[in-house]
Structures are given as C-alpha cells and as structure tokens.
C-alpha cells in the first residue's frame, strides 16, 4: 500500500490523514474484492496491514478483514471441506472457481493466524478488535460451517477457532487477565462457554502434564482468571443465549443441557485442582470456592479430597478451607472426623492478624453454635481463645471476648470457667496445657479464665469494659459478633475522636517542662535529644 509505506512521515497530522486515507483505501479494496474476483490479489494488501506495527492501521486492517471474510463466508466463497495445500491447487484438477475459493480460504486461515497473534501480543485496542473479529468469524462459521460434513448428524460449531482462541488466551508467558476479562462477555453465550470449558480442561491437562506441574505460575493464573469468570446458570430455562443456533436437534445438543454444563464445569475445575497449586493460587481458589464453584458443580462432594487436603495444610489455607468444608458438612452430609480437633489447632496467634479473620470467626462461631458439643471441647476452645487473647490487638479482643461469652452462654456447664466456688480459696497453678493438641486432653475444664481477668486491666476502655463482664453473671442474651468482625483500629479510634459532647478535657496537672521528662522518664533514659 502506498500510504502505509510512507511510514516515516514526521508530522502527526499527515500520519493521521494518511491513516484515514489508508482506511478509505482498505474499505475501497474490500469493496473491490467483493465486487469482482479480479481484485482478489488486493487481499494481500489487507493482510499486510495486519502485520503493520502501528495500532491504528492494524485496527483498520482488522476491521477490513472482518468485513471481507464475513461476507465471503456468507456468500460461501470460501472453500469447504479438507483444504488442499496451495501447491496442490496448482497441480490438482480444480476449477477456477474452486481455485479461487481455496485461495481465499488460505488467506482466511492466515488472517486468523495473524489475529490470534495480535490477541496475545497486542495493544488493548488491537486485541480487542482482534478478539471481536475472531468472534465474528466464529459466529459466521457457525452459520456457514467450513467443514464439509453431514450437518444433520453433526452440530455445527467453530470448534477449532474457539479452541485456538482459548489456547492463545491461556498463555504460559504472559498475564492475559485483561484479554480474558474481555473474552468473558463471550462466555455469556452458552455454547461458547460449554466448549471453552472443555477446551480449558484439555489445555490444562496437556500443559500441566508436559511440564510436570512445575513453574507454571503465569499459566495457572491465566487459567484461574478465566475459570473464575465462568459461572453456570442455575436453571435450564436460562440457557437461551447461543451464538450458533442449531437448525435440527437443538434440544439434544449437549451445549443446551444444564447438566452437561455442570459436568463440564466440574471436570474443568477438578482437572485444574488436580495439580499442585502455588499458595497464593490456593488461597484464591479457596476464597471463591464456596460461592462460585461448589454451587455450580453437579457433584460437590468431589471436592472433598481437595478441601480436606487444604484443611490439613494449616495456616491461612486451612482457615479458608473451612468455608468450603462448612458447605459440604452442612449441605452434603460430609462426615469429617477430628474436625473440631483440627479447628482447635487452627487457633494460633496468627489467626488474629490474617486478612480472613472475620470469615474465620464467623465460621467458628457457626461451628461452635451447636449445643450438642461436649463440654470439654467448648471449654478447650474458650480457654485457648482466652490464652491467645493475651497477645492480640484490641480490635481482635473485641471479637474474642463476646465470642467467649457466647460460648459460655450456650453451654452453661462451662460456667465453671468463670465461676468455681467449690474449689475453695487455695491457689493453684493453671492446669491448662496450651501445647496439647487434643482438646480432650488439655484439661481446660479444670482451669479458670484468668486471662480475662487480666484483660480487665487492658488499656482500651472498651476492651476493659467487655472483660469486666465476667465479674457478674452473664446476661441471657447472646452478643452479636458479626457487628464487630470487621472493625478496624481506625474505627475504634473514631469512637473517641467523634465524641461531640466532651464535658471538659482532663488535663495533666504536673507542669511539663521538658520534652523528655515525665511518665516515669522511660524515654529520657533511653533516648537523648541530640
């Protein structure tokens, strides 16, 4: 193309104009090609535009491509069936018409190749238009399939094209999250989603097996991104949005059945989780597991292995696995031996510092809300929480203390923890064994919650007040924990800062003379001004 060759035009204005001209040029060329076959060779100019390095020209070329090939597909001017090589065309006995079709089909294939290339590498606008173009091709192919088959027996769907797109999106070397999020809108369509899910599964299996599951962080991230965006509708009647309408036997099409969707979804996830995941990925999966994976699976119980394995890992991953386990236990009759023992061992100081603190305590609260739990277990939990309360910040204490009180309220026999009048006054050492892993052996019931008594001297008034509650018999009504689960230190500060009716601010009466004086002189003894 004349104008595109003059790339070194310095002025931006001229480039813009030249692009406009080029666009007009391309449009006219497309028209020419569609008009008469003698302009067929102009298609090379268009393909050349696809390879250009400038985004605008690429985009215009992509647009031209999409217009050209879509109309060609509609006119059925592309070769159908098994495509012979270009060399064979010359030798083989094809008619001119066929030759033209084969030629065009080859151009079409190469344009698809180039578009796929752009999909993974390009500029946002470029990959967006490339993706759109590809999906247009896919839609057109669905209508006018290129394979030469008996369409009464087969379902027409541009499998190859979609698979190519999916494979390209699941790059091993690049983070394709942006492209994937763009692709997500096409996943709304039932048939694309259905096929994409099976392609993803195939791809994962292929890639992971080849690499022995090692060092595929980017790939896994891409896979996770695309998978986490897939959600299966909850009812069969919602399956209405198809890209390709099957003329015959639409009802029997797998892509039109919800159960098949769910199966595909399930296979995809299981295939993905089969391989070793990095910790961050693990956490991400577990976070969305309970509300965006389990409900869409046909047999959620298949996740048991994965979840129990995760629960065994310990630390934050175990905390997150709790949620999925809870769903399984609660809705799918999972019987998990030693569940409470493991839950007990999850209680570590770090629990109070992790991001998922609120979720953990919410679930633990639910797990311990049963009134059929043995007393020793509840007492063990209470005592352990109390012991941990000696190391945690006030925000966590505001959760722990009401939590403890609720435990004691639900299990009145745990009252001995705060009220043991029979023991007399002889002092004793704390019999509780912090290091014991079995809650049945830790002797929590013989102990008392001295820790809470200690916390009555806590510096924050709200905490101290909450701890004071054990001095008197607890009220009947349970405290609402959910309100404090998400509280932050700043919110606690605001309680004091926003007090509007301050009567009079108490002042220090010892006259301040120097910066480092006062308050026991701790700072002054360890630090100097200069």
């Amino acid at each position: 193309m004349a104008s595109t060759k003059k790339r070194n035009v310095s002025s931006a204005k001229t480039t813009e104009r030249s692009i406009k001209i080029a666009k007009l040029d391309l449009d006219s060329k497309v028209d020419d090609i569609l008009e008469s076959r003698k302009h067929a060779n102009d298609v090379f100019d268009i393909l050349e535009g696809l390879q250009s390095e400038r985004e605008k020209s690429v985009i215009s070329a992509v647009n031209a491509c999409s217009r050209l090939f879509c109309s060609l597909l509609e006119r059925k001017e592309l070769f159908m069936g098994k495509l012979p090589g270009e060399d064979e065309v010359l030798s083989g006995g094809y008619s001119a018409e066929e030759k033209y079709q084969i030629f065009m089909r080859h151009r079409y294939n190469s344009s698809v190749e180039m578009l796929l290339e752009h999909l993974s590498l390009g500029h946002p606008e470029v990959y967006e238009s490339a993706l759109c173009c590809l999906m247009k091709f896919a839609a057109a192919e669905g209508q006018h399939p290129l394979e030469d088959l008996d369409w009464t027996e087969h379902y027409s769907f541009p499998r190859h094209l979609i698979q190519a797109v999916v494979d390209r999106l699941l790059s091993k070397t690049r983070d394709n999250s942006l492209q994937i999020s763009r692709f997500q809108e096409f996943l709304e369509m039932e048939d694309i989603r259905y096929y994409a899910m099976s392609f993803i599964r195939e791809s994962v299996g292929r890639v992971m097996d080849k690499n022995k599951g090692a060092g595929m962080l980017l790939y896994q991230r891409n896979v996770f991104t695309i998978m986490s965006n897939i959600s299966v509708p909850s009812q069969e009647s919602e399956l209405t949005n198809f890209m390709v309408k099957q003329e015959a036997k639409h009802e029997d099409w797998k892509a039109a059945k919800l159960l098949e969707h769910k199966r595909a979804f399930e296979r995809m996830w299981l295939g993905f989780l089969k391989y070793k995941l990095p910790n961050s990925m693990y956490k991400k999966v577990l976070v969305i597991l309970h509300d965006s994976i389990l409900p869409h699976m046909s047999k959620p119980t298949l996740m048991i292995d994965f979840l129990t394995a995760a629960y065994e890992v310990g630390g934050a991953i175990s905390l997150l696995a709790l949620n999925g386990l809870f769903v399984l236990i609660h809705q799918h009759n999972l019987d998990y031996p030693d569940f409470y023992r493991k839950l007990y061992n999850l209680l570590e100081p770090s629990v109070f510092y992790v991001k998922y603190r609120a979720r953990f305590f919410h679930l633990t609260n639910i797990f311990l809300s049963s009134s059929h739990l043995p007393v020793y277990l509840v007492a063990a939990f209470a005592k352990r929480l109390a012991r941990l309360a000696l190391t945690v910040p006030p925000t966590a204490l505001l959760i722990v203390l009401p939590f403890l009180y609720n435990l004691i309220r639900r299990h009145p026999s745990c009252r001995v923890l705060i009220h043991r009048p029979s023991a007399g006054d002889e002092p004793l050492e704390d019999p509780y064994l912090m290091d014991e892993e079995d809650p049945a052996q830790c002797r929590a019931l013989e102990s008392s919650l001295w820790e809470i008594k200690t916390l009555q001297k806590h510096y924050h008034p709200d905490v101290a007040k909450a701890a004071m509650l054990i001095n008197t018999p607890l009220s009947e009504k349970e405290d609402d924990i959910d309100a404090v689960l998400e509280i932050t230190t700043f919110e606690m500060m605001e309680r004091d800062l926003n007090q509007t009716q301050i009567k009079s601010v108490p002042l220090e009466f010892e006259t301040a003379t120097q910066l480092l004086k006062g308050g026991g002189d701790v700072l002054g003894q360890n630090f100097s001004l200069d």
């Binding site: 806590h458 230190t489 601010v505 009466f509 910066l515």
Partner: protein, 844 residues
Amino acid sequence: MGKVPKKRSLADKVRKTKTSAEIKNNPFEVKINRKKFEVLGRKSKHDVGLPGVSRSKANNKRKETLLKEYKLKNKSSKLIDRRFGEYDTNMAPEDKILKRFAMERQRAHDKKDVYNLNEEEELTHYGQSLAEMEKFNDIGNSDDESEEKGLLSADRLPLRRRGGLLRKKSSGDQQQEEEGSHRAKSRQELIEELIQKSKQEKRERQVQKEESQELTEQLDKEWKSIQALMVKKTPKSESADQPEEKPKPEEYDKMVRELVFEMKAQPSERLKTPEEIAREAREKLQKLEADRLRRMMGEEAVDSTQSQTHMSADDLNDGFILDKEDQKTLSYQVREEKCFISEEEGDEEEEDGEGSSEEEEDEEDGHSDLESEQESEDEEHNKEDEVISTKPSLSKEELKAQQEAAKAELPYTFAVPEVYGDLQNLLDGHTPDNKRIILARTQKCNHPSLAVGNKLKLQKLFGFLLKYFGEMTNLSPPDLTTVDKLIPELYTLCQMFPDEACKSLQNIFGDAACCIEKVLDCTGQPDLPKLDMLVYLKVTALLFPTSDFRHPVTTPALLYISLNLTKVPVRSLQDVTKCLVLCCLAVEYFSFSKRFMPELINFLVGMLQLAVQDKTSLGYTMVPPFRPSGKCSELLVLSDSGSSKSWSKKRLQLSATERLELNTDLDRDHHRLTCLSVTLDLLKRCCLLYKDLLSFNHIFQPVRTLLSKHLSAQTLPEPVQELHREILELISGAPVTRSPLVLEKKKPIPLKLLTPKIVEVLDYGKKRGSSREEREKEKLKHKYKKEFKGALREIRKDSRFLAREKLNEVMNRDAERKRKVKELFGSLATQEGEWKALKRRKKK
C-alpha cells in the same frame, strides 16, 4: 282509771321498790340487743337495754311536765309552789321539811333582829372590826382616788363582793344611809359609774401630758431663736478675741473620732508558715491525684480540674496568686519570668538529685528574696523600673546581665499570629530561649482577660505551635532543642484552652491512623510514623493524663501506637529505633495506670527474635508484623560477636529515627546492641509494671524461653547481661498459682418491706373526700334528721300520753257520773222505797 295505766303504774311501783341490780338481773326486764359482729376493743353501752325502766322513766317525766301543762291549759292563773325544795325530787321529804323549818326559823330570827338592837355580834378580820375597816377605807379612798386607779377600783368593788359574806349590819346611821344609797343604785349603774370614772381619769392624764409637751416645745422654739442669735454672735467675738482657740476642739474631735473609728485589732490573715504552704500544696496535689485515680478507674468525673482551666499563663502551680498583675509594667513580667526559670532550674536539680545542695539553697534564697522584695515593692510603689528590679539579685549578676542583653533586643509586645506563616516569621531566626520568651510575652500581652478577641487568637496559637513542632522535627537535622524549650509554653496554652488542644491532637492522630489504614487496604506496607508523630505522642503524654480510663486524646493516641506496633512491618534498623521510641512511649503511658497492652509485649518479644539467629526452633510462632524468615528477620543479629566488647551503653538519639548513619559493621553492631539493651530495659519495666497481673507468667512465657534458651547471655556485653539476668529473675520470681475465679457476690435482694399505709379515718361510714364545708353540712343534715325523728317520736309519745290521759279523764268523769247517777238512782230508789213504805204504812 283504765286498766293498763293502772297495771303499769303498779309495775312501776314494783320496779321502784326494787334495787337497780335486781332489775338488771331479772331476765324479764332485760332486753339484749343482738350484735351483728364483735368489734375488738369497742365498748358498747347499749348491748343491754332495760325497756321497762326507761319507759317508766319517760312516763314519770311526762307526768311531771306535760301532764301538768295539760292540766294548766286554758287557765289564766297558776299556782307556783315556792316552797323550798318543792320540785327537788332528789331531796328526801324529811330533809325538805327540816330545811323548811330551819329557814322558817331564820326568817323569824331576822325579823326579830330588826328590833333587837342591843344584841350585836361584831365580825372581825385580823382582830379588827370589819365595820371599822370599812369606815377607814372610805376615808382613804377620798385621798387616793385621783392617784391610783387600781386601788380605787379594787376598793370600790369589794364592797359589793363582800356583801356576800355573812355579815351583821352595823348599826350606825351613816352606814345605813350609805347602805341606802348603795341599795338605790343597781349593779348596772354601779359598773357604768366605775367605767365612766376611769375614762375620765385617763382623759385627764392625757390632757396633762399634752399640755406639758406643748410647753416644752414652745420652750425649745424660744430657745432656738435665742440660740441663733448667740451663734451668730459668737464667731465674731471669738475670732476677734481668740483665733487659736478654734483648731483646738477640732483636733480634739478628730482625736476622739479617730479613737472611735480606729481598727480594733481585727484578726488579719496570718502569714502562712512554710510547713503550711507545703501542706497545702501537698493537699492540692493529693486531691488532683485522687481525681486522677478516679478517672483511671473509669468513674465519671464530677467537675474535676475546673479550677485548672482558669490558671494564668505563668502560674507556677504553687498556690501563689499574684493579685496586682495588671498594675505591673512589662519589665516586671520579664523579671518574674526569670524567677520562673531559676525556680525551674531548681526544680530540675531537685528532680535529678544531682545538683549540689549549696547551689540549690543559694537559688532558693535568691528567689525568696526576690519574692519578698517584689511584694514590698508592690505595696510601696506602683511604678518601678527595671533598673531597680535588677538590684537584689546580686549573686547572679553576670548571668542576669547576659540575659538582659539578650532580651534587650526583643520587643515586649507581640501580636498573636493569625496564620501559621506569621508564627514562623515571628520565631524564625531566634535562639530557642528567645523563641520561648517571645511566646511567653505574646501570651501575656494577649491574655484573654485583657481583650475580647484574645481568646480566639490564642486558641489558634496552640494549633500553630503544634504545627511548628512538626516542622522543627522534620528538619534535618531535627531541631529538637527548640521543641524542648517551647514545651512549657505549649503546656500553659493547653491549660488555657483544653478543648482546642484536644481537638488539634485528635485531628493529628485521626489523620495519621486513617492514612495507615488506607495504605494497608491498598498495598499492605505502610511506613512507620515520622519523628513528628513521635513528638506529638510524647507531647500528648505531657499535656494530658495518660492514666485515665477513657480520655478523648490519650486513648486514640494509644490506639495509634497499637496500630503501628501491629500492622507496620519493621524493615530497617531505623525502623527498629522508631519502634523502640513507640514502645518507650507506651511504657510511659502506662507507667502510672499499669494497664496491660498485649501488642507491646508481642512487639518486644518480636524485637528479641530479631536478635536470634536460628529461628527454626523457637517454639513460638512469630506474630505480625514480624516474619519468621526474610531479610528483615535478622535485623538485630550481630555481624561480629566480638563487637560487643567495645560497646558501651549510651543513650540513643531521637534523630536516629530519621537519619541513621552507620557506615561500618562495628557501628551497626553497636547500634544493634543499644537497641537490644533498650528492648531489655523496656521488658524489665514491663515486668515490673505487670507483675500483679494474674496471667503474668503466660504473658512473659515467650520472653522467658527466648532469653533462657535462644539468646544466651554470654555473647552480650556486661550491662545487657545484667538486664538479661534481672528479667529472668523477675519472671521466675512471680507467683505461679492463683485462686480460681469466682463471680462477684451479689448483694441479696432484700424482701420488699410493706409498711402499712395509715389513713386517719375520722368518721366511719361517711363520705370522705369532700370539702370540709360539705362534710359539715352533711353532718348537720344528719343531725337534723336524727333530731327531727327523735322529736317526732317524742311528740307522738307525748300525744299518746296526752290521749291516754284524756281518755283517763273522760273515763274517770264518766265513771263519776255513773256513780253519781247510780247514787241518785239509789237515793231516788230509797226515797221511792221510803215513800212507798210510807204509803204502805199509811195504807195499812
């Protein structure tokens, strides 16, 4: 007579003969009134009635009254029996007769006496004849009459009263005459006469008095007119004759008056002895301390520290109140400030306990001199110059001279900066001391009591000053001396405007915490606060009580420290230093209240872990912000264990939190060791603070394991080793056992005491609640009804009685007539019989 009355009268007769007891015991006479229910404690008179008795009584009564009246009806005259005791039924007839006889005799005797003049019985009183006495009295009366009214009336009256006495009439004519005149006047007349007499006397006396008053008045008037003449005349004559005589009486008067009005040694307020002053100061401090304790316990303050707010800018808090502040010139204030400084120095030395006692005494002496001098000056002269004021402080003349020279450059009045830039301009380029003086003068010139707008202006100054502090500390190198010097000014400002101070510091902490939270939400790696925040935290501790249960400033400040100790990762030695400052501040905050801060212990444990090389076998999970691995996990591990030998303990610089220049490994190691020693020092303090906590052992368990197993003392220098040992001793020395928890004993709720409500019921069965008049009316109505019924009943009985009597009468009359007719018929029959017999005889 009819049968019934006859019977009744017969029954009455029988009854009368019987004694009352007999009647009462007779069951036929007694009618028992049935009671519906027994009322305890009520005695009823009417449970037993004697109808027979009462009927006969009523009948008798009627006979005596009604019947008689009836009989006398339509009669123009009636017979009244005036015989003695005729109608007295109580008297026995014999008595009556006897009495009558006696009276008859007496009357006869009296009559006889009129004519029997010789036989006279003299009545005497105290051996004197009463008749004589009466005579004498009469004479005396005539004399005393006008003088004594009391006697008069007393003498007049007895005559009549004594008349009642049994007395023989005197035989004298005079007396008889008198008696006759007395007799002529009736009693009424006598009394009237008496009254008239007394009134007349009264009037007479009044008139006399008026007359004498008039006379005196007149005399006065006359005298006045004469006196005026005399007064006019005297000065002329006196001035002419004796000019020196005039001042004399005046002087004398003056003296007298002075003596009169002289203060009679009023009890003045005694000067307080030093001991008393000390005691008062101590009492005041005790009160404040008690306030602090109460707030620490979280009780609501009633009106604490109200008095604090009115302190003047330069109040030394020693109870010394300067009254005549306004009269002083500025030079005084400068000098006073000097006193302030010198005293401060004294204070410091006292606190440190290092200054030599001699110096201290000197200074104190000088100060007291100054004070006394000042007071005397106040009294004697209101305006005095700087020159004089410098005189007394001879001992420190050189120093003073220097200060004077320095101050001479500064103007004495300053406008309060309106914007922050003004303050900068005001303070820039001065030495820290001068800055302080400038601020002090600014405050004094613009004291709220001097003008209306000053309060608002000074309020702003606090915020500016805080900002200035921040700016000073953010310089490199930080200008902390200025901050240090300006602290007292900030303190006074804070005492003046607590609300403003509270608000500005709250804003600072709120913004800083908000900042950290935001960063945490986004990236999760916030930075530790800069030095200015550390200074603000320290300033907060200086200005506000840190021991309060809840305080609008210190509680957020503590939360801010907590936030930094839990959420912000420690990435460098500089961060370590900063965090140590934070920990120091936290320990200072709790030094009095001994409150428990879990984050602080966690953090200090984390610091110790930074010094441990091998973290795999710690046996204690590291708590954020520390991580068990990574490049920042071994910040305090010495690069060369030999460097501990050359280390000596010295204080860290505050500026090291911002800029740490450690070029060699040795320097770095030394810094590490210092940090470690500070950490251990803080841990020791924490041990001491928290040793009373119930869970002391569990709180310090990690410290113990770390120190005893992982951080061996051998490699550490001597002072650190000592700290190490002390901490371990403290931890192991704490009691392990404690008694199990028991709920607080509740006070048993006492039974409800139901004391009866007592309502006084005055009349049973009556409507209550109406007004008094209505009740009265009701009562009267009721009474009227009762009386009316009773009267009706009586009237009916009366009429029945009368009818009966009438019937009796008629029947009697009829019976009489019948008897008469019968008689007549009988006589006629006998006549007839006689006549017939005669006839028969004649016939025969």
